[in-house]
Every structure is written in C-alpha cells, then in structure tokens.
C-alpha cells in the first residue's frame, strides 16, 4: 500500500474528519416508538481512535449505522453528521453512495455474513477499487494484493483467489478491513470488530487497526462493549447509556478518574484477569430503562446511588467535568452529581435485579 495518496484526502490537522451533532434516531412502529439515540455529539480527528462503549441497547451501533447512512427507512434521524465538511443527514442516497466506501467505511462483527460467499476475495476487494477509483481489472488486482499484505494476510498472491469459506474467522475479518480501507477512507467505523473472534486472533486484528492508523492516518470509531479492547486501542472514549452520551474522556482519564456513576459501575463490574483472587463483583442494581421515551431527567437515576430529586427533575447537560478551569474540557460527563477526580466510588449494592422485567432490554446479543 502506498503512502502517497494519503495527503490529498486528509483535512487540515485539528479539524474533525467526522462531526456528529445532537444526533437522534427513533424507530416508529404501529404500536410503539423506540428512541434509540438521543442527542449524541462527538468529533473524530484525523488519525484518532475513538471508542464508543456501552451495553446492549445503548445505541452505540445505531449511532454508527446512522453515520454510514445504513438505517432502514423506518428510522427517523435528527441532528447533523458531517464528514469532511459534507452533511450526511438528509443527503440523497446517490450522494451517500459516493461517500460510503470512499471517505467513510465500516467493518462489522461477523465477517462471514458481510462477505459474498460466491465471489473470490480478490473480486470483492477489486469491486470497491474499480467503482470508486476507476482502476482497471489488472490494476485493481495488483492493489488488492497490496491491501491483503497490508492487513497481514500471508501469501496474498495465492490467497486472493480463495473464497471466504476457505479462510478462518480472523483472516475473513482482515479481508473485511482490506475492503474497507481499499479507497483509503479518512474514517473507518469498526463495529465490534473482534467480538466474534478468539483472543489470540483478536490481538492480531487490533494490531492491524493500530497499523492502519499509523501508516495511513485513518481515524477509527471503535464500537465495542469490551473494556479490555478499549484499554488496548482507544485514544478517547465515549460512554453511552440508554441512547445518550454519559461520559467522554481521553482513555487514561476515563479509566483512572471516571466521573459518571454509570461509568464507575461499568468499570467496577468488569472482570480483570490476573491475580485479583476471588472477590464479589460489584453489580449495578436494576435494569436499563425502556427506550419508549427519553424523559427530561437523568435516565440512570433509578439505578444510581447518588441520585436525588435534581436527577429526576431535569436532564443533566453534557459538559466539562471541571467547568471552572477549562483545562479539562476534553473530559465531559452528563451528571448532576459527578464524582470528583480523586473521589472513591460508593459501594455499589449487590442487590440482584428484581425489578419488573422489560423485554428487549439488557438482553444478550
């Protein structure tokens, strides 16, 4: 892969390549409306890895699908999504097709269902190159070999004529990445790219993503539920809960001094391998709220040990955790009573979830 094509597509340093403002997504059916995303904003800078984390149903994947313009027609989308200065919300499909694959590309959790089983991998990578870059069949093939090499597929010249079923899960995901970066997009959205893979394979995929960022300057939105992956790969982290942003911070700040009680709960509940011995895991009491409405209140309040009347009376703004100084503007949280930087977490009660069940929430993937 050549580094020469890089500079042309990159925006000026400091200007975000992807800018999401006040994004809201709702799905309406005959019986109910689901407010999957409610007022999410973030910026992604060139060469940056932003992790979007949260549990099932928090809206992290819907946000990504909205950015790609891949939501079904039943979705109502509000707010703004700008890629390289162009507005994507409300843009005609034809316009989106030009941008997708070229400026912004996506990889999914399950590479087998994203690849066409009856076409060779060379054909599938070449398709993108021929469509967006107008390469000839021969040029496309040469470039495909380079791309397979870039994503760490051994013997790319022979592998290029194989079909997806001949490859392992990890190799398929590498092929997906090769297709995604074929046109050197400025933004790559990786939605749970390693979730279906074994840990030893995951390690390799994370290294490929890292090398893309280093060699091509690709900015990556890494959507994941795995805090280990976040700790490994992210520069900055956005934590989502029930469709809203609850905290955003540089990765080290988030893990060292999380301010939002939900983030603290999530970090507390995660298992840490290696020598901690047997302790009782802190649990977050209760269940995630229904997305039938997005009330004018903190939606984490019913599960929060710090909640009081303020929390149920109004929705907290998503602002800097230290508004006075302005130095910490990169660290933001939506909470009326955020933890101080050095404050210890309240002991989370280990009450089992005995609240009435709400179907479709908290469910496994």
């Amino acid at each position: 892969m050549t580094e020469t094509v890089l500079e042309s597509v990159r925006g000026r340093v400091g200007e975000p390549v992807l800018s999401v403002r006040d994004l809201s997504v709702s799905f309406r059916s005959d019986t109910r409306t689901v407010h999957a995303v409610d007022g999410v904003s973030y910026d992604l800078h060139p060469g940056e890895v932003l992790a979007v984390v949260g549990e099932s149903g928090c809206g992290k994947s819907v946000t990504s699908m909205a950015v790609m313009g891949l939501l079904p027609p039943t979705a109502r989308i509000g707010g703004s999504i700008r890629v390289g200065g162009r507005e994507l919300v409300g843009a005609p499909e034809k316009e989106l097709q030009k941008i997708r694959g070229k400026d912004i590309a996506m990889i999914f959790q399950e590479p087998m269902t994203s690849l066409n089983p009856v076409l060779t991998i060379g054909r599938q990578i070449g398709e993108v190159l021929r469509r967006h870059q107008g390469l000839s069949r021969k040029e496309a093939r040469e470039r495909s070999v380079d791309l397979l090499d870039l994503v760490g597929i051994p013997a790319p010249r022979s592998r290029i004529d194989e079909y997806p079923h001949q490859l392992s899960g990890g190799m398929r995901q590498r092929v997906m990445i090769a297709i995604a970066v074929a046109c050197d997009p400025s933004v790559l959205i990786a939605d749970e790219p390693t979730t279906a893979l074994d840990v030893t394979v995951q390690a390799g995929i994370l290294e490929v993503l890292q090398s893309l960022r280093e060699r091509l300057g690709t900015a990556i939105v890494l959507v994941t539920h795995d805090l280990g992956v976040v700790a490994d790969a992210a520069d900055r982290v956005l934590v989502m809960y029930a469709g809203r942003s609850v905290e955003e911070a540089p990765v080290h700040d988030l893990f060292a001094t999380a301010r939002h009680p939900y983030t603290r709960g999530l970090l507390g509940a995660v298992l840490r391998p290696g020598g901690e011995g047997k302790r009782r895991l802190p649990e977050i009491p209760g269940l995630v709220p229904s997305l039938d409405s997005q009330p004018d209140a903190c939606t984490f309040a019913p599960r929060c040990s710090r909640a009081d009347d303020t929390c149920t009376a109004g929705r907290p703004g998503f602002g800097s955790v230290d508004p006075g100084t302005g130095t910490d503007a990169a660290h933001r949280a939506a909470c009326w009573h955020p933890y101080g930087a050095g404050e210890a977490s309240d002991t989370l009660t280990a009450t089992p979830a005995t609240e009435p069940a709400r179907p479709d929430q908290e469910a496994g993937k």
């Binding site: 392992s168 539920h225 280990g228 840490r272 047997k278 802190p282 979830a353 929430q361």
Partner: protein, 347 residues
C-alpha cells in the same frame, strides 16, 4: 437426599474440601471422533481426562474448535464419546441408552450459553422450572409450586415470575431461570457451557456472583466451560486448558494465572486485554502466527508446534504426554522441565 447437601464445600478452601477420591465427574481418555463428509476423521476430542471433585469448580478453557463444548456435551450424555469413559458419581454412563440415562439425569445438568434458545418459549417460567421436578418425582401437587418459588427466590427473582414467559424476561433473568432449572433437583454436577458469554458486562457480573453463591451454598461440582479467562479465574478452583482436542495444561487457578507453563497458555493469557490502559499498553503480547490447524489432520508431534514460537525439532516429531509437575499441575510440553521450569514464549 444428596451428599452435596450434607457436605458443603466452601469455595475458598475447595482444594482441601473437594473430594477427589470420589469425584462427581470422572472423564477418562475421552475421544469424540466424527466421520468427515469428505472422508477422514475429525478428532474433535482426542484423549481428554478430567475429574471434578464433589464441590469443586473446574474450568475448561479453550478457543473455538478446541473441543471444549464437545467434552461438556459428552459429559452429560447429550453426545456419545467414541472412546474412553464418563463416570458420574461412580456410575459409568458412557454408553448407557437414553432410557437408562434418564433416571440418572437428576444428578447432573447442563446450563447453555444462550438462554433464549434453551428455554421453551411456549412454557411459563414456572413450568420450565417444574418440569425436571415432576419428571424425577421430587415433589407433587402444591409442593411443586412451592419448590419453584423457592428456586426463583434463590436466583434473585420473584414468585410472580413463575407465570411469565421467557420472552418477557431480560437476557440476564433468562439465564437465572436456566440456573434455577438446572438446580431444581439438587444435582451433584452442573456443566455450564459459556453461561455468561452472551450477557452484558454488568449482567455478567450478577450472574457470576449468583453462580458463585449457589455453588458455595449447595456444594455441587461444576465443569465451567468458557473462552473467557477472567470469568474462569473468578469461578474455578482448577483450570484445564484445551488446544485442538487435547488438554495441554492443568493447574490450580491462582498458579495457572501466576505462572503459566505451556507456551499456548502463556500466549492465551497474554492476548486477553486487561481493562486498564496503563497496564495493557505496557504488557508483552505474544502474537501467535499461523492458523489453528484442522482437527481433521492434526499436526504430528506436539499439536501446537505449528504456532509455537519456541518449537524445536523434537516438538515437530515427538508427541508430548501430559505429565505431572509439582504442585498438582500437569503440562504436555517437551520444553517444560520435570521440576516445572518453563521457557518464556514472550522472549
């Protein structure tokens, strides 16, 4: 009733309390070979021996294709091994007929990964939990309902949940139902196959706490099958690591994590990312090259030699045996000394 109730084995001292002399589960040299469609034999499980003592939690760890789930299915006779034996409470169940196994099923139960596909959607929660109780005639009439409500309380749910259907519950609650059903006849052995892998982090924490509490209170033996190293460290007293149908290392949990001997175990532990950016970014990661070989045609010599960064000529030709090391450990690697000195695959 069962011995499990009279001999509670506290988890913390399980190494001492677990009764190794009369294990609840003893698997000897188990093989499960399948005929491949294009000819040849898939050696999914190829000579695995594991025992689970009374009140002991044994973790069976491996990546996809290692054969760990097949071991679990054969252990509870959802599948029949093609070689070796399975004893539960001293009874050989390896080749018993379905009918002959049925009355024994009260003693062992399997918890599956995905509670939404392992619970019958047309039955109420009460019916699902009551089914084994009725089949094994553990209670009748009003006592069944009483028992169901007792079990619901034990897994942190309320009596009125008995009248709901699985789709009305969340994923975490459904897994609690699977656990309640598994425990309904006071089994001596629970085989749990990835019971928390489909759950979110915070839900996973509560289900793991529940399993740990119940196991401590009830003292059942447990074969905990998972790819999740952190979960197995949380729950297991002892861990066996599988690679390509065979056990490559087996050790008490703390020892395995502190000092993994087999290069594969070392790679596995180093690859699992730690949720701490400072620690994670300073860790040495052993990246394995090459692909998992096909169980249709496993490599000669040590099965791991094709991906092992330390493989020697001997590893390519001579099959290592699983041998005993000091401290109740076992390892199958030519490079590990009899005194337990092991090479570091990261160097």
């Amino acid at each position: 009733m069962t011995a499990a109730q009279t001999v509670p084995a506290p988890r913390d001292s399980a190494e001492g309390a677990a009764d190794q002399q009369h294990p609840v589960l003893r698997i000897d040299s188990m093989e499960r070979h399948f005929a491949a469609s294009g000819g040849g034999t898939v050696r999914a499980v190829d000579g695995v021996s594991i025992t689970v003592g009374r009140g002991e939690v044994v973790g069976l760890v491996g990546e996809s294709g290692s054969g760990k789930s097949t071991v679990g299915r054969c252990a509870v006779r959802l599948d029949e091994p093609t070689g070796g034996t399975v004893h539960i409470n001293g009874t050989d169940i390896t080749h018993l007929s379905r009918r002959a196994v049925r009355p024994l099923r009260k003693d062992f139960h399997l918890v599956f990964q995905d509670p939404s596909s392992s619970l019958d959607p047309r039955m109420t929660i009460g019916q699902i939990i009551a089914e084994p109780i009725r089949l094994h005639r553990r209670a009748r009439g009003a006592a069944v309902r009483e028992r169901v409500e007792e079990l619901l309380a034990q897994v942190g749910l309320r009596p009125e949940h008995a009248d709901r259907h699985p789709h009305e519950l969340s994923g975490g609650q459904r897994q609690r139902i699977s656990i309640a059903r598994a425990l309904s006849c006071d089994p001596d052995l629970v085989v749990a196959d990835e019971p928390t892998s489909a759950l979110d982090v915070s839900v996973q924490a509560s289900v793991l706490n529940l399993l740990a509490d119940l196991q401590r209170d009830r003292g059942f033996g447990c074969l905990f099958i998972t790819h999740d190293l952190a979960a197995v460290e949380f729950l297991a007293d002892r861990i066996a690591v599988m690679y390509l149908g065979q056990i490559v290392e087996q050790a008490p949990t703390a020892e395995l994590f502190a000092d993994p001997k087999h290069p594969y175990t070392q790679a596995l532990l180093s690859a699992a990312p730690v949720p701490d950016p400072v620690l994670q970014r300073s860790r040495e990661r052993i990246v394995l090259h090459g692909e998992l070989p096909s169980p249709l045609d496993p490599p000669p010599g040590c099965r791991f030699h094709t991906r092992c960064p330390l493989a020697t000529e001997r590893c390519r030709t001579e099959v290592p045996v699983l041998r005993e090391l000091p401290g109740g450990r076992q390892v199958s690697c030519h490079l590990v000394g009899d005194d337990g000195t092991a090479p570091d695959a990261a160097v």
